[in-house]
């Protein structure tokens, strides 16, 4: 053992996982604020979700910039002369900026109480918000040499995670509002179920892949990473809330909030493990 005396560090550290988590909730809340224009039950959440989403965008943006080794050069990514459109990061940066501008305009419309403009801007903001989990998933997918990352369902998984995390925060924000809670319970249930299905398909194909895939599967399912991924991510954060929401207790407001908290814990764990696990294998190669 110890034959390989050189090792390499992982490219992306935990900050990036926290960013994934924050930006997922940010997108999910934006969906809810848009939903409030279409579904009366979500009306009480409109402003709260919009402000929450914007606040998280600021936090996410700072995390992203802070994670760069040259934080002040983040402006380079907005320089049209430098932009390289084969990189999902370039698209992501444009998406974030566009989403930020749309969010500010939307918040202004909400403040002015302008219905017509509010509705249009809510739609634009939600569409741009959809791009956030898609690009973060795509950011991983394009890395052809990384098992688990390099699966086309990664953007879909991140969208499902964004809806689940956003609905979970929405359930906490909705408090005692019964009709909102009832709807959010449905969102939570279906999005978490979608996360579960996608995870099963990812794990299944990974375990039956080549050597790199199998080793990544082992890294993700054993030891500390296994505890985070399987224990918190799948059991506590995906299976348990589904079971809870289906049980009579899960139809009560407290039950929905508890399920929401579990989904949030699971969402954080899954994003961390999905980011860090597949990077481990190459560090000794």
């Amino acid at each position: 053992m110890g034959d390989y005396v050189w090792f390499h560090d992982v490219s992306w550290h935990a900050t990036y996982a926290i960013y994934f988590f924050v930006i997922g909730i940010c997108a999910g809340l934006s969906f809810l604020s848009y939903g409030s224009w279409r579904t009366e039950a979500l009306r009480p959440l409109r402003e709260k979700a919009a402000y929450g989403s914007f606040a998280l965008l600021v936090v996410g943006g700072l995390l992203l910039i802070g994670d760069l080794s040259q934080p002040l050069r983040f402006l380079n990514i907005l320089n049209p002369a430098y932009l390289n459109f084969t990189s999902p990061l370039a698209w992501g940066a444009l998406n974030i900026v566009a989403f930020g501008i749309a969010s500010v305009l939307y918040l202004a419309a909400l403040k002015q109480g302008s219905q017509a403009r509010g509705k249009v801007l809510a739609t634009v903001t939600a569409l741009l918000a959809l791009g956030l989990p898609i690009y973060t998933g795509y950011d991983l997918t394009v890395h052809q040499s990384r098992p688990v990352w390099n699966t086309p369902v990664m953007p879909v998984l991140f969208v499902a995670l964004a809806i689940a995390s956003g609905s979970a925060v929405g359930a906490i924000l909705a408090g005692a509002n019964e009709s909102a809670q009832r709807l959010l319970r449905e969102y939570l249930l279906w999005s978490t179920a979608a996360v579960g299905v996608i995870l099963v398909s990812i794990l299944g194909t990974t375990n039956y892949g080549g050597a790199a895939q199998e080793l990544t599967f082992m890294i993700l399912t054993t030891g500390t990473m296994g505890l985070i991924f399987v224990g918190i991510g799948i059991v506590v954060g995906t299976a348990a809330p589904i079971a809870l929401l289906l049980a009579p207790f899960g139809r009560q407001q407290v039950g929905v909030v508890v399920a929401g908290v579990l989904v949030l814990a699971g969402g954080a764990a899954l994003r961390y493990a999905l980011l860090m696990g597949p990077q481990q294998l190459q560090t000794l190669y």
Partner: protein, 236 residues
């Protein structure tokens, strides 16, 4: 690789009028002296803990038939490099003439996307403090000694290779030594399945080294000390 195998327009192998530099590493001749690694460190003031080129080894076989197998490693200067595709600001790019994959240090934002994209772990982050060289906090890697090659010198590692294991030259020139070696020998590249078209060719590379083994999963605990020291050094 023939003309028909070219897929992406970025590839310059066998493109008339263009040079395509490559390295051949004859692992049968490598004695594991690490002189190449030292020469590279000296050439570039490469900081502690990171390497532009490195020579991992493995003891393979069972007693009495054992050998120490070396596999000199460096950036493969891929003809279709995923690191270039993934850089959001064009800080890493492919040089048209010669196929060098190079860095624009002043442009790099340090997002490490290229590190994640490279299937060979050829890239690393420079630390924030260096004694002699002001280039810090950006990603770096082997440049195929661009500054030497454009002065008609071979890379520092090739110049110093005592076993003459490393050979460098223009693969688009049919009379070059690398063309001869690639034509006359069975060669391997690392991870051909990634479609990167690496331009470091190995003669006699051992599967024990080019493929992931279970070692990668059972990380020896002894490495954790070094890993911690490395992270402390880089503030990560």
């Amino acid at each position: 690789m023939s003309d028909e195998l070219r897929v992406s327009p970025i590839e310059t192998r066998e493109v008339p009028g263009k040079r395509r530099f490559a390295m051949v590493v004859d692992t049968r001749r490598c004695i594991g002296c690490m002189a190449c690694q030292v020469a590279c460190k000296a050439e570039y003031d490469t900081p502690l803990g990171v390497n532009r080129t490195w020579v991992p080894y493995k003891v393979v076989g069972k007693y009495p038939n054992v050998k120490k197998q070396f596999l000199p490693r460096l950036c493969n200067h891929c003809d279709d490099p995923p690191c270039v595709r993934n850089c959001p600001v064009g800080a890493t790019y492919k040089h048209e003439d010669g196929g060098f994959v190079l860095q624009r240090y002043e442009r790099c934002i340090g997002c490490r996307s290229c590190m994640a994209a490279c299937p060979y772990n050829a890239r690393f982050m420079l630390p924030s403090h260096r004694t002699y060289t002001p280039i810090t906090n950006v990603v770096d890697k082997c440049t195929f000694c661009f500054h030497r090659v454009t002065q008609n010198l071979v890379p520092a590692c090739v110049q110093t290779c005592i076993g003459r294991s490393r050979v460098f030259g223009d693969l688009n020139d049919p009379t070059s030594e690398v063309s001869y070696l690639v034509a006359k020998n069975a060669t391997q590249v690392l991870r051909p399945e990634e479609g990167t078209k690496p331009h470091v060719f190995y003669i006699g590379a051992d599967r024990n080294q080019t493929e992931f083994g279970r070692d990668a999963y059972r990380k020896p605990d002894v490495m954790e000390l070094q890993r911690d020291a490395f992270k402390r050094h880089f503030n990560i």
